[in-house]
Amino acid sequence: MAKNSPFPKGPISQIQGRCLILTGDDIDTDRIIPARFLRCVSFKLLGDQVFADDRKELKGSHPFDLKSNQGASILIVNKNFGCGSSREHAPQALMRWGIRAIIGQSFAEIFYGNCLAIGIPCLTTESSKINAIAEEIKKTTEECWLLNINKKTFSRSNKKWQLSIDQRSLDMLTSGRWDATSQLISNCSNLKSFMINLPYLNNFSK
């Protein structure tokens, strides 16, 4: 599915799909999408370029190239995933490759916010559970898993893990308010009077 499936829209309560495991801490956004691919005015073509240099180095054995992983939509990672540059090109590239949700030990802050802003849920759990999940997935690469955002569970047949996501992100995803623009604009009717009270916008007179 993945690559051709529609981009996230509206409320997101569950993701169903196959999983892809990417091992390693501190995987930065320069690796997810090398800077030379940022020379563009649209995100459209980024899907093919995700992890371009790592994939080239591994000559077909990178998790994003393995035949068995094609069509996967849930990415399993370790600690501090997405650190470094703020480029939204990184989650955009993952999304355009087919990723619709990420489960990891922890995420870098800007990356997490960028994912949320485009409707990609990032859920966390401790390292022992990530390892157990990865082991289970390796046994059954062809199988679909269910990520239930409301219940914060990740499951398949009789296997089930409880994951974490902060309440704010959960509400945004399940209500469809992860696309924040209209919400923000609706609170802007009194922006001018708010601004006039900021010292640096009123010649420091208040």
Partner: protein, 468 residues
């Protein structure tokens, strides 16, 4: 939970609303944009039929993609040309001030906003670039955002955000000779790690920081993000005020006195409460350099590359990856490692005092044979000021190339990049795999003075040997 810190005060002042999900709608006092992360935001604005709500609160420049050798338009790279042309079009259409090439004010966004006096204490500053933390040096809450948030700021001058915790990093003692602000921040990241700051704003304070110039403070805050902290800040003081006095956008006349009064009130109170506090002794810091593939993989210049056994278990896997990628052996000294390329510049270390520190080492000496060494001023103003002091000539005589302003080889979105597995001694901020443009290029981060010393000897060198 923190209270009465600068972060708390500035945060409270900028809260527009509480959002249904519990986050805060935060007003952005200064929004900076550039050619890389804004085009898709403008396109989204167009698709939604929205306009820019406060065009006067957004300022643009071009930095990432500009060539540093020939800046004639159109650029040789059609993709780069299209990005700048798109920025020009968007700025014109939405009435946004663009400090374009040749305007006299163009440069790296985190260099020009401070030098123009756009960045002022007490503001919230956002930009689609993680090194926005730089502006915290002025006592602001400054943070990097993604393109969707750039769209939100253009449309509403606000973003949805959760409040961070605040960690106080207190520094006592003076840096010893040959040790710079860059060494201090590399030392901090080395000690605390690249993940420690996630969820925190870092307040840098104490006698060491108070002695620092604004440019040194910017170097410190710039790399807060490399320690995981989205924001870093320093309380404003006389050093801040004297830097801002007379800058193009600084308050003038009667406003100036009132501004100072307000700015002084922003500093964290004596009895401020922090979520965490850590102390450092600056006297113990030596010239610090990274050997691996994260900014946390740093060592003192006289130390050996750490062995796996000497590291925390959590750090071993990435260390193994780093030994392989860097082709370096654990237990070996970093000193005397031969290098290929020397880069002086970037939003971390591309300001006048950085070039002065490097020029002091380069003066009267020669770049070693076979070494490519180049200097990229952070802005047109930095270039002008450096030329007025004759620094360009010092560098050129020593065998460095003197380039036009831009981000250059910090991230290699322009023609400046490493080739193959070249090793670079770099004054920039990231040593990630492939960061400097070659998929197997290798980067060692250090102060500009250390880069200059490496250029002269052709190998990693303790800059203090040049100061004897």
């Amino acid at each position: 939970m923190s209270s009465e810190t600068l972060y708390d005060k500035v945060w409270d002042l900028h809260q527009v609303a509480k959002l249904p999900d519990g986050s805060t709608q935060l007003f952005v006092g200064l929004h900076l944009i550039h050619e890389v992360t804004s085009p898709q935001a403008f396109a989204a604005l167009h698709d939604k039929g929205l306009k820019v709500i406060c065009p006067e609160r957004t300022i643009a420049t071009v930095d990432h993609i500009v060539p540093t050798i020939n800046q004639e338009r159109p650029f040789a790279d059609p993709l780069a040309e299209e990005m700048l042309a798109t920025l020009e079009r968007n700025c014109k259409k939405h009435n946004i001030k663009l400090h374009n090439l040749g305007s006299g004010n163009q440069g790296i966004v985190h260099v020009i906003a401070p030098e123009l006096g756009l960045t002022q204490p007490g503001m919230t500053v956002a930009c689609g670039d993680s090194h926005t933390s730089t502006h915290g040096a002025f006592g602001t809450i400054a943070f990097g955002i993604g393109t969707s948030q750039v769209r939100d700021v253009l449309a509403s001058q606000c973003i949805a955000m959760n409040k961070l915790k605040v960690r106080k990093l207190f520094f006592k003692g003076s840096l010893s000779k040959g040790v710079h602000a860059k060494d201090l921040i590399l030392h901090v990241i080395r000690k605390l790690g690249v993940k420690a700051g996630v969820g925190y704003a870092y307040e840098f304070c104490g006698p060491t920081i108070e002695q620092f110039s604004m440019e040194e403070r910017m170097t410190i805050c710039n790399m807060a993000i490399e320690g995981g902290a989205r924001c870093g800040y320093i309380n404003p003081d006389e050093v801040t005020f004297s830097y801002l006095k007379g800058c193009a956008y600084s308050p003038k006349d009667e406003s100036w006195g009132k501004a100072i009064k307000w700015w002084q009130s922003l500093a964290s109170n004596q009895n401020a409460v922090f979520d965490d506090e850590i102390q450092f002794n600056a006297e113990h810091i030596s010239p610090t350099i990274t050997w691996g593939i994260t900014p946390g993989q740093g060592i003192g210049i006289n130390e050996q590359i750490p062995t796996p056994e000497s590291l925390d278990e959590d750090d071993r896997a990435i260390a193994e990856e780093a030994y392989r990628y860097m082709a370096l052996e654990p237990g070996k000294k970093i000193q005397n490692l031969p290098i290929d390329v020397c880069f002086i510049g970037s939003c971390t270390n591309g300001r006048l005092s950085d070039l002065e520190a490097a020029a002091a080492i380069a003066k009267g000496r020669q770049v070693a044979e076979g070494i490519k060494a180049f200097v990229v001023p952070g802005s047109e103003k930095v270039a002008r000021d450096a030329q007025a002091k004759g620094l360009d000539k010092v560098f050129i005589r020593a065998g460095f190339e003197w380039r036009e302003p831009g981000c250059s080889m910090c991230l290699a979105m322009n023609p400046d990049r490493l080739d193959g597995n070249q090793i670079s001694a770099s004054s920039s901020n990231r040593n990630f795999k492939g960061r400097q443009g070659s998929p197997n290029g290798r980067t060692l981060l250090m102060s500009p003075a250390m880069v200059a010393a490496a250029a002269i000897t052709g190998k990693i060198t303790d800059v203090r040997e040049f100061l004897k």
